[in-house]
Each structure stands twice: as structure tokens, then as C-alpha cells.
Homo-oligomer: 242 residues x 2
DNA sequence: TCAAAAAGTGACGACTTGTCAATAATGGAG
DNA sequence: CTCCATTATTGACAAGTCGTCACTTTTTGA
């Protein structure tokens, strides 16, 4: 019985290892030749397995892409969690800034992860993928939202922030989310940003974010505290980025 | 000589008409079956021309996509211009709000145009397309920026706004751009926005925008003036949207 | 040892995009 | 009106996709 169990797990382990290898290959392929260049034939050839075997792991190309996107979301969730529980935060707005720093770090450290997210959002991959994986994605997205919402709620509870009539916590989070997602998308896809006068888009993003929260009157305001310093501190202390 | 000229122009006119028809077909195709479903074969079949002829107009699929994207940019530029010269603006911030309304109207009225823009930004179409068309795109983008920047500069000149140290006009514009682009991307690609607590994303976007500009201390602040009313007014008066 | 079950294979059909020799239409010149 | 050069149009073709499934090989447990 023990040997049987062991053999099952060995098989299972091999399967998982192979799956990981497929994803690894797909990741680098995606980075080097883009979504359209990603080919099942080539994956099979480089894996030295037949196509049929690859299709036993992922029933189509889109499933692979979505699996990569899910990895990305998981990674970011992890980073957001680390930022939200940062011990160096003195105020609720510090904590919010920490999450901003996490978002920044995520894109810088895993640009290909971010680009997968973009692909999933623009190409109509959805229809072809399994319900299961789609759901996983929504769960991740929801949990990410929940972390940020949690910080906002903390601010409300502590009296650092009051929402205007008719606005929900999620509306604020949506604003931040949009700003960040849009900024990174433009940054990674516009070649000549400098030419049209945007020398340091990351700094511009930080500023916009700060001013948006200032607009919400989330205290301390950016005029009362240097959140740029907080950003850099988080990137050093939490993510070990000197 | 007259007849010769006429014949040349007749030929040329026919060519252009056909080109327009190709783009029209591609547009609807893109809307109905997405980027991946857009097929040169099908375009040729539906045009009742051979593939070779289609390829004489656009030397690859990506050129068609980019041509559509350029149409979109032109359209938006037009709408931005209309908004920026709106006669009903009482303050510089009114004028800025008018542009926000134009952006909103653009996405609502031409959703497929917006989706083309997203496709161009995420898929790596760039490499395959002609320098000419790429340049056109950048010019449009630059002119769009220039319109918005113009309004910001007007505000600076009139003393309605002062920029913080180290920030340029373009940084502010970049913030607005990111916020809008990000928000519309998320809106059009996230199915279950309501489920995660974002009931009215457009309202949330307006709010975020207003608060961001409040953060910049662009007077009158949103607490001193109802810009929601301005948005709706512009959509009625400039774009005839009741 | 051996048969049944599981795993792996790759030729295949149906689709792409983009090319290019061959064919058809056109437009002056005589 | 004829005729030929130029230009426009064609569609078979090469080379590449994706996903399938009858087949072969390996594994497994009795």
C-alpha cells in the first residue's frame, strides 16, 4: 500500500513538474515573441514531448495564458499582503502608500507578469477558457480588492478619512486601481513618452495618486507627509530593493 | 488632358472607396469576432475580391488594425477639440471637465474604437506595421496631449492652478490620461464589477478625476462647483446626448 | 508472465497569413 | 478599330497555426 501511494505521488509529482516546465517555457516564449508567437507546436518541440501530451495538461493555448495570468495575480496578491501588513506604517495612509509601492515593485520586478494581465484583458481569451480558471482569477482579483478596501476601511474607522455622500469604499479603490493599471499600461506600451514631455512617469503616477487621496481628504495629506519617502522605504524594507 | 485627369481620379476614387469598405468590414468583424477572428480570407470573401487585391491595400493584418486605431484616434481628437472650445465653459476647470466628458462620450459612442486602441497597446502589433502609420498614431496622440496641456496651461496663466515643485504640465495630463484609460479598460474587460462592489464605475471615475484635480488645487474645487453637472451639460450641448 | 489500463505519439483536417506566376482588363498609339 | 504594353486581379501555393484521435508504447497489478 505504501509503495502504491508512493507511486501515485511520484507520477503526480512528475506531472506537476512537467506542467511547471510548460508554464516556464510559455513564460519565456511569451516574453520573447509575444502572445501571437506563442505556439503549442514549439512548446511541444522544446519540451521534447508530443503535442498530444501538452494538450493533456492544457486543453488549449488560452488556458496556458490564463494559467500564467493566475500566477501573476497570485504573486501580486502576495506582495499586496506583505505591504498591507508592513510594520513600519504609522498611519492608514502610510499603509495605502505601501500598497502603491507594492504595485510599483510588482510591475518592475515581473514585467512579463503584468503584460500577461494586459493580454488577458484585451484579447478575448475568456470565452475559450475553463470556468474553473476564470473563477480563480476573479477570486484573486476580489482578494486584492479586499486588501486595499481593508486599508480604506481602517482609515475610515480611525477617522483619517471620510467618504463623500454616495461614494463607497470600492469606488475609491477603483480609482486607484484604474490610475495604476492605466499608467503602467501606457508606460509599457508607449515608446516615446519622453518626447511628449513625460520624463518620469513613475513620479507622475505617485504624484497623481497622492493628490487623488488628498482630494478625498485622507489625512495626513501629502503636504503634511512625504509619501515618496514611504514608497522608497517600503521598497527597501519589505521588498529588499535598495 | 481633362479626361485623363478624370480617369485617374476615378480610379483613385474607386480605390479609396474599396479601402473604406475593407475598413468598414474589418470594423464590424473586429467587433463581432475579435482580433483573432479577424481574417484576411474572410475579408476577401465578403468583399468578393481575391486576397491578393486586399493585400495591395494593406500589406498585412496589423496594418488594418492600426488603420482602424488611427481612425479612432482621429475621432477622439475631433471630440477633444470640440470639447476644448466649448463656449459654455466659465472656468479653466470647466474646460477640463468638458474634455473629461468628451472622453466619456467617446468610449460610450464608439466602444469598438476604444477596444482597437487597447488591442494595439497590448498585442505587439507595432513591429509589423509601417513607420508611416505608426508616426500618424504618435502625431494624433501628441495633438491630443497638446489640447489637454493647453487647457492646463490656460489654468496656470489665469492663476487657477499652481503646479507643485518638480511637476510639469504633462505630468498632470499623464495622470488624467492614465486614470481614464485604466478605468475604461477595466470597465470594458471586467465582467463582474458590480459583484465586487463597484456599482457605478463611471461615477467613480468622475469622482476620482475631480479629487485628483482638487489635490492639485485647481480652482474652483469640486466642493465649490458641481462638475457632474458640467459633464452632463457638455454631453448634451456639445455632443447632443440627451 | 501477461492482459488491461494508462500514457504518449504524430499524421491529419481545417484553418491561418502572405506570395507570386499566370491571367484578365485597361488605355493609349497608330 | 486594332494591338500591345502596362496595370490590376486572381487563386493555387508554401509555411505556419490549433486541436483531435486512432494508434503505439509503457506501466501496472494480479
Amino acid at each position: 500500500m505504501a509503495t502504491l501511494d508512493q507511486k501515485i505521488t511520484r507520477k503526480e509529482r512528475e506531472r506537476q513538474e512537467r506542467e511547471e516546465k510548460i508554464l516556464e517555457l510559455a513564460r519565456t516564449m511569451l516574453r520573447e515573441v509575444g502572445y501571437l508567437g506563442l505556439s503549442m507546436d514549439r512548446i511541444a518541440a522544446e519540451m521534447e514531448y508530443s503535442k498530444g501530451t501538452i494538450y493533456q495538461h492544457f486543453c488549449n493555448k488560452e488556458e496556458i495564458i490564463l494559467a500564467l495570468a493566475n500566477e501573476a495575480l497570485e504573486k501580486r496578491l502576495e506582495m499586496f499582503e506583505a505591504a498591507a501588513t508592513w510594520s513600519g506604517a504609522e498611519t492608514s495612509r502610510d499603509r495605502m502608500a505601501a500598497i502603491g509601492a507594492a504595485a510599483e515593485e510588482f510591475v518592475e520586478r515581473y514585467p512579463q507578469h503584468f503584460s500577461v494581465e494586459q493580454i488577458v484583458r484585451s484579447s478575448s481569451i475568456w470565452e475559450k477558457t475553463s470556468e474553473e480558471r476564470r473563477q480563480f482569477m476573479q477570486v484573486c482579483e476580489g482578494r486584492c480588492m479586499a486588501i486595499v478596501s481593508g486599508v480604506v476601511r481602517e482609515a475610515l474607522a480611525q477617522g483619517d478619512l471620510e467618504l463623500p455622500a454616495g461614494r463607497s469604499v470600492e469606488d475609491l479603490v477603483f480609482g486607484l486601481w484604474s490610475l495604476n493599471f492605466g499608467a503602467y499600461t501606457i508606460i509599457t506600451s508607449s515608446e516615446a513618452l519622453e518626447e511628449i514631455g513625460i520624463a518620469d512617469p513613475i513620479a507622475a503616477l505617485r504624484q497623481s495618486q497622492n493628490f487623488m487621496l488628498d482630494g478625498y481628504r485622507w489625512r495626513p495629506l501629502s503636504s503634511e507627509h512625504d509619501f515618496n519617502e514611504t514608497f522608497d522605504q517600503v521598497k527597501r524594507e519589505v521588498f529588499g530593493n535598495g
